[in-house]
């Protein structure tokens, strides 16, 4: 079905996509038009994730879509994967976050660091949406400094015992399995960080919804407590070794976020244009005034730049040439750009812009979280600074 949302394509970037990439984007776009847009405002107000969408997302093949078909995934290239993230976030960041966590933060590490048995067991179940995952790295006192985490995994004669607390965990209360990152050695040794697959019904595992969010309201964000959680030996992701393993997951997720942000920005821009052409003030549509035209011109310019960043980043990823620093640049730029576009749309819409009936303020509030998670804007600034100068300014 042809989608009703026509996107934003000022530079004919569609012409740089393959027929399959466009077909995939249009399918997800139609699905978001039909199933996300009509319900998301209400879920946002209620503070609930639309769980009823999970089976359809799985059937479309949205979970871990860039992982191999041998594990029940769609086996898409990374540009197609990015376009999926773009369209999901065009609906809502909470929906895109759900898919990012499931795919890039849980299925990806299982695929990358797991044993063949772990892959065979978990990936098809997760691709089909029967198993939902979450990624537990961040702790109450260790956000931008994940290497300092204090969750510990002690080896016993028949397995592992985990103790610690995690925070800001997307899907935490929904998940059936958590990828928990813990230190197996001394607390000052980030090299001893390992990933563990923890079924959430294991005794000692508890998750609690983090109430009071004014952002990402259509998303499950939870605290997790691990108290003497006993796991079998094979709960360990055998190839996860040191801080670089969770950081690789974050690179995979940030890649999708760079695309997602463009989706949110496109949703806002299209809303702004529609409003500017129809809202009459001082006897003519406000789009006829220079101040609003300046807003719209700025938005279109920045969105177009963001689209081209993503596309080239995706082509590099598909060629195996993408660096984490390039991902930092795209995540940093595009999320800040989308936040600006959402804010300017909110303002262009005047008083109407604060209503849930319009999308801008929901996207704006969401993007404030996206600005902060998966490496804050500032952390990415320092990653680029280090890349440029060779000097570490983190501490």
């Amino acid at each position: 079905m042809a989608p009703t949302f026509n996107g934003v394509d000022f530079y004919n970037t569609d012409g740089l996509l393959s027929e399959e990439e466009r077909a995939i984007r249009d399918t997800v776009r139609s699905w978001v038009d039909d199933h996300v847009i009509p319900i998301i405002g209400e879920h946002y107000l209620q503070g609930t994730f639309p769980k009823q969408l999970i089976p359809a997302m799985a059937e479309l093949g949205l979970f871990g879509a860039n992982l191999p078909e041998a594990y029940g995934c769609a086996g898409l290239n990374n540009v197609a994967y990015g376009l999926i993230m773009q369209e999901l976030e065009r609906g809502d960041s909470g929906v895109r976050s759900f898919a990012s966590v499931q795919g890039a933060l849980v299925m990806y590490p299982i695929h990358e660091f797991g044993s063949e048995e772990q892959k065979q067991h978990w990936l098809p179940r997760m691709a089909s949406g029967r198993v939902i995952g979450c990624f537990a790295l961040t702790e109450p006192d260790y956000g931008s400094n994940p290497g300092g985490l204090i969750t510990v995994a002690k080896e016993t004669k028949d397995g592992w015992v985990l103790n610690g607390a995690k925070m800001w965990i997307t899907n935490g209360s929904t998940a059936h399995v958590a990828v928990v990152w813990a230190k197996t050695g001394a607390l000052d040794d980030p090299g001893s960080i390992r990933g563990f697959l923890v079924p959430t019904d294991t005794p000692g595992f508890s998750a609690k919804n983090q109430a009071g969010k004014l952002s990402l309201r259509a998303s499950d964000t939870s605290e997790i407590v691990l108290q003497d959680v006993r796991l079998p030996r094979d709960a360990l992701l055998p190839k996860s070794a040191g801080l670089k393993a969770p950081l690789a997951c974050l690179t995979a997720a940030r890649y999708g976020i760079a695309w997602g942000a463009v989706g949110a920005a496109m949703a806002c821009y299209v809303e702004a244009v529609g409003y500017a052409k129809t809202r009459v003030m001082f006897g003519k549509p406000i789009g006829g005034f220079q101040l609003q035209q300046a807003r719209l011109a700025e938005m279109l310019t920045e969105i177009t730049k963001g689209q081209l960043l993503c596309l080239q980043l995706g082509r590099l990823k598909d060629q195996g040439k993408m660096t984490p620093q390039q991902v930092s640049l795209a995540k940093r730029n595009n999320v800040a750009m989308a936040t600006d576009v959402a804010r300017e749309t909110r303002r262009l819409l005047g008083a109407n812009g604060i209503l849930a009936e319009y999308q801008a303020m929901r996207h704006l509030a969401n993007l404030e979280s996206v600005y902060t998670y998966e490496g804050t804007h500032d952390v990415h600034t320092l990653i680029l600074g280090q890349e440029i100068t060779g000097m570490n300014a983190f501490n």
């Binding site: 079905m1 399959e20 077909a23 995939i24 399918t27 479309l60 769609a74 086996g75």
Partner: protein
């Protein structure tokens, strides 16, 4: 069950169309082309029949330019088994020319059902399905909104003015289908990837001579700006006067 579905590539109805300088065709620059929405119901119905039967083949046919391969592939992505493109340089204005080419292709296909959308949303002709049925000497039911098939026979419902008509017909048959028959599926991402590996035959197709020619294409006249004649009960008299004297509808 062997099912043929005939589909058409046409401009997306969201497109703002421009008329080409010749005054009788569309300017296709920047126009997005899609699968005719009514044909989506036909593809979906064919897939469901095949799935219910547990066996069979769904073959998609389209007469169109080389770019219609993409349209055929969107039907393959939904789940059709293979596609045939009757490739032409230009779309004929006369539905009978299209119908003759399709009928020639379909006649030896041994299909149990040949499905069409009830109309193409670009020309609104409702022609090609019934013409193909006639050329093949097959029964035809148009605008089908409900369908049951069993034991070599079909029962179809069509929405007619003020009611529902129920028709019985033997197979093979040609049906044109309406909205409401089903809810077309989204092509799954795996389906989209699989579509490019499915067989597609491309047959350059010489067109017969038609009797219908498009001589002009014009956009509907722009609506004139409305007029507010006044407010409150005082305006009623003026409104009635204008409806009578200016609009001449009272």
């Amino acid at each position: 069950m062997r099912i043929a579905v005939c589909i058409k590539r046409l401009p997306d109805s969201e497109t703002r169309v421009k008329i080409a300088p010749d005054g009788k065709s569309l300017d296709e620059t920047g126009v997005k082309f899609v699968l005719n929405p009514y044909d989506e119901f036909a593809v979906e119905e064919a897939l469901r029949r095949r799935e219910q039967a547990g066996a069979g083949e769904v073959v998609v046919f389209s007469l169109g330019p080389a770019a219609a391969q993409e349209t055929i592939r969107s039907a393959l992505a939904m789940g059709a088994d293979r596609g045939v493109l009757l490739q032409v340089d230009r779309m004929p204005a006369d539905g009978l020319v299209v119908a003759r080419a399709l009928a020639a292709e379909l006649k030896d296909g041994a299909f149990d059902l040949i499905l069409f959308g009830k109309l193409a949303i670009d020309d609104y002709n409702h022609q090609v399905g019934p013409m193909v049925a006639e050329l093949l000497g097959l029964p035809c039911v148009t605008s089908v909104s409900r369908l049951e098939i069993a034991d070599g026979k079909g029962v179809a419902e069509r929405e007619i003015e003020g009611g529902i008509e129920v028709c019985e017909f033997p197979l093979p048959a040609v049906l044109t289908v309406d909205k409401g028959l089903n809810e077309p599926r989204y092509p799954a991402l795996k389906g989209i990837m699989a579509a490019k590996k499915k067989p597609m035959e491309i047959k350059p197709t010489p067109l017969g001579v038609g009797d219908v020619e498009i001589v002009a294409l014009t956009l509907p006249p722009e609506r004139k700006e409305g007029k507010i004649v006044g407010e409150g009960p005082a305006a009623v008299l003026e409104l009635v006067r204008l409806l009578r004297e200016e609009a001449k509808i009272l």
